[in-house]
């Protein structure tokens, strides 16, 4: 099975080389693609030097648009499986390989690595979040679980693997507000088998946390609106796209 692992990266020149090396070690057969989301540092050059394919968005469009670029590329190039992992080094490549295996073995159309599913791992990992982030995590968990009638614990996880059916759902839709959380809801509503598996994650390699309180609040607002719209959208068909 042809597998593509893509890494959305925005100014991650310090960590992207290590992430690529890890992916190649744990998934030697997979092609590695870095989606450079309008980085102003040496991310693209570092990724090329590390032997990855690089798709550079001409300007920063946000992680949703970067992810979608990965899905579109995987669809058009005929990959059977496409997986995504963060460029900041918080996803151990062994865990990525486990997530990919779920889809490769046909156990799920879409697999998501959750750092909260196994209480022991969550305890040991000490994934402490700021109060605002913690609120968002609990809210999304409750809303997505209620909307899909399926239990989800880590709705914002960027460690995912998809088969072609799931890629098609996210690839060809024109939207600048594509969100991690909504993707779960949409996938379940469209009848896909979505499975969370417990994974260990690492603290960010360096730099500030991506979300400050104001941005957290905006992210929560945006996701709530998208989830609400997603909940009332007709289900079981792809006719709502575009």
């Amino acid at each position: 099975m042809r597998t593509l692992v893509f890494i959305p990266a925005w100014n991650e020149e310090d960590s992207v080389t290590g992430v690529i090396a890890g992916v190649r070690q744990c998934l030697p057969d997979a092609d590695v693609l870095v989606i450079d989301d309008g980085s102003t540092d040496g991310t693209a050059a570092q990724a090329r030097a590390a032997g990855a394919l690089v798709a550079s968005l001409p300007f920063n469009q946000g992680v949703g648009a970067a992810q979608q670029t990965g899905y579109i590329y995987a669809l058009r190039e005929g990959y059977d499986i496409c997986a995504q992992t963060d460029g900041d080094g918080q996803h151990p490549p062994q865990e990525l390989a486990r997530v990919v295996a779920q889809v490769r073995d046909g156990d799920a159309d879409m697999a998501v690595g959750s750092r909260y599913l196994d209480p022991d791992i969550a305890e040991a990992g000490d994934y402490r979040a700021s109060p605002m982030r913690g609120l968002g995590i609990r809210m999304f968990r409750a809303i997505v679980s209620a909307s899909t009638h399926q239990r989800f614990t880590d709705t914002t996880s960027g460690l995912r693997a998809l088969n072609r059916r799931a890629m098609a759902l996210f690839g060809e839709r024109l939207s600048s507000e594509f969100a991690d959380v909504e993707a779960l809801q949409r996938a379940v509503h469209q009848g896909l088998r979505v499975k969370e598996i417990p994974v260990r994650m690492l603290p960010r390699a360096g730099g500030d946390s991506f979300l400050n309180p104001a941005r957290s609040l905006y992210y929560i607002y945006k996701t709530l609106v998208v989830l609400l719209a997603g909940h009332v959208r007709p289900r079981g068909s792809n006719s709502g796209s575009q």
């Binding site: 693609l33 989606i35 450079d36 394919l53 690089v54 798709a55 550079s56 968005l57 001409p58 300007f59 469009q61 648009a65 979608q68 670029t69 579109i72 590329y73 058009r76 024109l174 939207s175 600048s176």
Partner: protein, 143 residues
């Protein structure tokens, strides 16, 4: 008779109090014409696309109609249950502006989506060209 019903009957019986003066009507008409000339000029200089100009022409025509036939405004004020024509006019204009700015946000959103898709297509296309380039280079090297 309660105070409420007194006010109600007064509102029903009274004609709109303020009529537009001739001077106000002339000023409005001149402004409306100047406005439409400006729109036309913007189109001529390719600063404004025809498809987006139509709403502004309609706004200009509405202004002109209001100046030429103030009876329309009086009818409108009556229909809205407002005694003062100027207040009816202002509320109406505010509402129209609200709808206009909403329509701009809709257009903006659509274009933001299109820009995102263009950025994605450009990134993928450049990657493909790189791959083709390196692929043919590898072919040459292997020969």
């Amino acid at each position: 008779m309660s105070a409420g019903s007194a006010i109600l009957s007064a509102a029903q019986s009274t004609e709109p109090v303020l009529r537009l003066t001739t001077q106000a009507r002339i000023v409005a008409a001149v402004l409306a014409i100047a406005f439409m000339v400006l729109i036309f000029e913007l189109i001529r200089r390719h600063r404004l696309q025809e498809r987006y100009a139509i709403i502004w022409f309609l706004a200009g025509v509405a202004m002109l109609l209001g100046a030429a036939f103030p009876q329309v405004l009086e009818l409108l004020a009556k229909a809205m249950g407002v005694r003062d024509i100027t207040i009816a006019l202002f509320s109406l204009i505010l509402f129209v502006l609200l709808i206009l700015s909403l329509s701009f946000t809709v257009i903006l959103s659509r274009q933001a989506g299109q820009i995102t898709r263009l950025a994605q297509e450009s990134a993928i296309e450049r990657l493909r060209q790189e791959q083709e380039g390196s692929g043919s280079q590898a072919d040459r090297e292997s020969l």
